[in-house]
């Protein structure tokens, strides 16, 4: 495998193993940026809850309270993933792949049928989107595959192999139908192939092939409402009360924000609940309206810092697997930011892609926490290997 083996302490229990790694190599910056972003997300949840309930924010079942619960769950998941020796992930990547497929199939079968798509599964009263977790599991599996083909990615078969790994879960996600997540899959695949050193020639050929296939996908795969949402951004005024309504309202909210914003819970559009799905897909519009240009800038800077830390960890990793995981997570986050914020700003089509940390979705937060935890696990276990 060409991977440095990590020597493990005597297996005398989890505490011993966890204690055995170098906690001083824990990337504090990565953690801090992530926590700050998540806190911003919770703040927006608070504001949105105030919009819906007019005051009594702390009662159970609100977006805010659910956000708090998920934040705790995410912290636990992060800690667990950090403590967990990531090398085991490599060993278990194929079982993980099967579990991933099984989860997606289960989600198709069990998912709630309201809201057209089957992407939501209810666990203990908390709505959960398996496709969010699937993204992280996909990254792990793909990282293992690409690490195995380290420096051999010039060949077409290796690239096609990577694509073949992605296709089954990708199709399952598209069937839910979750167009947004399926696009994230592609972005992650491309990002990881690129960072893994795949031949640019073949990548270009692949891109050309994808472009050629687009009209077919448009006609045969996409649902009417998806097409409508995708095109409405081109001319939102065409159907101002229908598909373009979200966009127009969102853009209005953003414009209203100005430099400093209207202040939390003060957004005229947001507080009147005019924005559809404002707690989720369009949360950035609320943020822009209430926190203004400065607030948005802070968010961008935090994201930039976070991406920088992720890439740094990937760079430092002597392990191609670690590098690939970092590349995958960075690609995922970057793609989601660009598409989600771009959508709110009216330069990207409407797809249901969450804004990491800020969008109030438990699954999104937990899966990113797990991803970052894996990265921490990688960061902490590199130095040790060096010794």
């Amino acid at each position: 495998m060409g991977v440095l083996r990590v020597e493990r302490d005597a297996p005398t229990g989890i505490a011993a193993r966890v204690g055995g790694v170098a906690w001083r190599d824990f990337d504090v910056q990565l953690f801090v940026y992530a926590v700050l972003l998540a806190t911003l997300g919770l703040t927006m949840a608070y504001s949105n809850t105030a919009a819906q309930l007019g005051g009594d924010v702390a009662q159970g079942g609100t977006t805010f309270v659910r956000g708090l619960v998920w934040a705790v769950v995410a912290l636990v998941a992060f800690a667990a993933a950090t403590a967990f020796d990531y090398t085991w992930l490599k060993a278990f990547s194929w079982p993980i792949y099967l579990v991933n497929i099984a989860l997606l199939v289960a989600s198709l079968l069990l998912g709630s049928t309201d809201a057209v798509s089957a992407r939501w599964v209810s666990i203990f009263g908390l709505q959960f989107q398996f496709s969010e977790i699937a993204k992280i599991l996909m990254i792990v599996v793909l990282a293992r595959y690409l690490a195995d083909h380290d420096r051999r990615l010039d060949s077409l078969p290796a690239i096609v192999g990577a694509c073949l790994i992605v296709i089954p879960p990708w199709v399952l996600v598209l069937m839910q139908p979750d167009l947004g997540t399926s696009l994230v899959f592609i972005a992650v695949l491309v990002g990881m192939l690129f960072m893994g050193g795949a031949s640019l020639r073949w990548l270009g050929a692949l891109a050309a092939a994808t472009l050629a296939a687009l009209p077919l996908v448009w006609t045969y795969v996409l649902h009417d409402y998806q097409r409508e949402r995708l095109t409405s951004f081109l001319d939102p005024a065409k159907d101002p009360l229908g598909a373009g309504f979200q966009l127009l309202t969102a853009q209005h909210a953003v414009s209203d924000g100005g430099l400093l914003g209207a202040g939390l819970t003060n957004g005229a559009q947001s507080q009147s609940n005019l924005l559809p799905v404002q707690a989720t897909d369009f949360v950035f519009a609320v943020l822009a309206e209430e926190l203004g240009f400065i607030g948005c800038l802070v968010v961008f800077l935090l994201f930039a810092a976070l991406l920088w830390r992720i890439l740094t960890i990937a760079w430092r990793s002597r392990d191609p697997f670690g590098l690939m995981v970092g590349a995958g997570i960075a690609s995922m986050i970057l793609f989601q930011i660009v598409v989600n914020v771009g959508m709110v700003l009216g330069v990207m089509p409407i797809t249901g892609i969450p804004l990491p940390f800020i969008t109030h979705g438990g699954a999104s937060l937990v899966s990113i926490a797990i991803g970052l935890g894996i990265l921490q696990s990688i960061a902490m276990r590199q130095q040790r290997a060096e010794w």
């Binding site: 960072m195 920088w308 930011i337 771009g342």
Partner: protein
């Protein structure tokens, strides 16, 4: 290298987004949102164009007495989102006291309302003005409570005009679907009965449009501009004379009360123009019930009442017209020259057809009679023979000439057409042609014959004016809000009845003889000249004594030279009558003819005759065919 590339992509992407954000938030570029498109997207937020209801037109009687006006009505509602939980019990308690509604009912209404918490929930409709003002002045201590004002129709003499004027009610889905294009709103009110419905488009006016600023929850902050001012609806001036209407109702109510009958109608018409001067239908109800929003229980009561209060009996009740129909048979047989003006025919106890006996109503007859005496005695055997001479086809022809068998086309909804039997009609509906016996019945307004009180008064009006059948009208003029006449009155002629004028003169004199022969008891003793014809028509099922229930009719007219002192001979030869009338009493069941007594009382009232010749004893509920023979 690839790390650098990735970092570059990251920086470019975030930089691009920041630039875009800068353009939208700080540089003031309104993104790619065309200005025109912003307005509809902001529904509920800022500038909203909304319709401004127009003032509905008023309704007057022919003497410009106001019959329908618009009055403000106050609705108290609560916007749940504006009512803080902490103050809720207190506010609801105060509302309960002010509105005299149980607090639990208010709570239930608020909590039971579906829709947004920002939508006002109506708590009480038609709140007294005093209470409404008290609540709106107290808005500080009553957060979330709102008072709105709407216009409501006020029918000044509700039950008297209900059948004529009708009422307005909420537009229903089918009506809305067809009227949406004309600017109707889903929660609009629309004329649903009477002239309110027929003249809806004139009365409604044109809704205006204004721009208002609203906050996100739908509360109007201020009116910005009025794009188009609403145009008030046009007003109606009825042909109806409110005084005549009252007198007619008084007479009808008296007759119904004494006879114990519950259903009837009286219609008064100007024979020279077709204008309806009075039209009363019993039983009636108050249109204000509907204007205020009728309760389901009240509406059910009206719907299930077997006396059909919702029907305008003057135009909707089609019943056998009985002997009043002998006008048709008589006119026809004269015009077709099947009977000479002075020719006599033997009246007998009965006319035999095969083995069936068709009896004279007094089972005796009067010997030889000419047309006037035959009509005066209402001899059935005389008119059986006239019907035989005419045959069913010609009888139907003359009936249709007089306007029977088809709606008159009056400007009121739900008019019945009546029925004039013909061979073709019977073949189509019952699969056989008319039997000879049925021809006899058709000749005396029995059997299949059906007519409405309006058709009857219109036929007698044609008789009175010398043969012109007018289309009856209840709306005289349509007047714009500034008082100019938009549509002046114009009489509408349906047809000139195809009979020479001597036929009508003869029949008028025959109708006069009905009165002078004392067939109508003391009617002749009134100091006025009246001509008319009684009718008694059997219908329905025989009772335990084998007797059929029956209706009473009386139709007639007065000549222009009406007072006996000026017209001692009782001359009705001139076609100059100003007043024709018809009275209908459903299931009369009295000793005498209730309709005749009602007509007599009405004429006494109309001409202000001090002498009271009413014969209440004739209105005892007994049986005409037993006791009155």
């Amino acid at each position: 290298m690839r790390f650098v590339a990735f970092a570059l992509v990251t920086v470019l992407a975030l930089g691009g987004l920041t630039t875009r954000l800068f353009a939208m938030q700080l540089a003031g570029t309104p993104a790619r949102v065309p200005a025109a498109a912003v307005a509809p997207a902001e529904v509920g937020r800022q500038i909203v164009t909304e319709p401004v209801p127009s003032t509905r037109g008023l309704i007057y009687d022919r003497a410009k007495r106001l019959l329908v006006e618009n009055v403000p009505t106050f609705t108290v509602s609560v916007r749940p989102a504006d009512l803080p939980q902490s103050q809720r019990p207190e506010v609801i308690g105060r509302l309960a006291g002010l509105l005299d509604i149980a607090a639990t009912t208010i709570t239930e209404t608020i909590d039971g309302a579906i829709g947004s918490r920002f939508d006002p929930v109506a708590i009480a409709h038609d709140v007294p003005e005093q209470t409404a003002r008290l609540i709106s002045e107290d808005s500080l201590t009553l957060p979330g409570v709102e008072v709105s004002v709407d216009a409501r129709r006020d029918y000044l003499d509700g039950p008297l005009f209900t059948q004529l004027i009708g009422w307005t009610g909420s537009i229903d889905a089918t009506a809305y679907a067809s009227l949406k294009g004309q600017g109707y709103l889903p929660d609009d009110r629309i004329g649903k009965a009477g002239v309110e419905s027929v003249y809806e488009s004139a009365l409604r006016g044109v809704y205006g449009v204004r721009e208002v600023e609203k906050d996100g929850t739908g509360r109007t902050l201020r009116v910005l501009s009025t794009t188009a001012a609403p145009q008030a609806g046009e007003s109606l001036i009825l042909t109806i004379d409110a005084r005549e209407q009252k007198l007619a109702q008084q007479a009808l109510d008296w007759g119904l009360k004494l006879s114990g009958a519950r259903r009837g109608a009286i219609v008064v018409e100007n024979p020279q123009t077709g204008e309806i001067l009075a039209m009363v239908s019993a039983p009636t109800y108050d249109a204000n019930l509907f204007a205020r929003g009728i309760s389901t229980a009240d509406f059910q009561k009206l719907l299930t009442n077997t006396d059909l209060p919702l029907m305008n009996h003057a135009i909707g009740d089609q019943q056998p017209p009985g002997s009043t129909y002998k006008l048709v048979t008589g006119s026809g047989v004269l015009a077709d020259k099947k009977l000479g003006a002075t020719e006599t025919v033997l009246s007998k106890p009965y006319v035999q057809l095969g083995s069936t006996l068709f009896w004279e109503w007094n089972h005796a007859g009067w010997g030889p009679l000419d047309i006037k005496d035959g009509f005066a005695h209402s001899s059935d055997t005389f008119f059986y023979q006239m019907a035989q001479r005419l045959g069913i086809a010609r009888l139907a022809y003359w009936a249709r000439q007089y306007g029977f068998g088809q709606p008159t086309g009056i400007d009121l909804p739900a008019e019945a057409g009546g029925l004039v039997p013909t061979d073709q009609w019977k073949l189509e509906t019952l699969g056989q042609t008319i039997f000879p016996g049925e021809v006899l019945q058709a000749g005396i307004g029995q059997g299949y014959d059906l007519a409405t009180p309006l058709q009857l008064v219109n036929a007698y009006a044609a008789l009175a004016n010398g043969g012109t059948l007018y289309q009856p009208q209840v709306v005289r003029e349509i007047v714009s809000p500034d008082g100019t006449v938009v549509r002046p009155f114009a009489p509408k002629v349906i047809r000139k009845i195809a009979a020479p004028s001597w036929v009508f003169t003869t029949m008028r004199e025959a109708a006069r003889r009905v009165i002078t022969s004392r067939h109508t008891y003391n009617f002749v003793d009134l100091p006025i000249v009246v001509a008319g014809k009684t009718g008694t028509a059997e219908f329905g099922l025989r009772d335990k004594n084998g007797v059929l229930p029956y209706h009473n009719w009386f139709a007639g007219f007065t000549p222009k030279n009406v007072w006996t002192k000026d017209n001692p001979t009782g001359d009705v030869s001139k076609p100059d009558s100003q007043l024709a009338f018809a009275v209908f009493i459903y299931d009369a069941g009295t000793l005498g003819n209730t309709a005749t007594e009602v007509a007599k009382y009405y004429l006494q009232l109309h001409y202000g005759i001090k002498q009271d010749l009413r014969l209440p004893q004739l209105l005892e509920r007994t049986n005409f065919y037993e006791g009155g023979r």
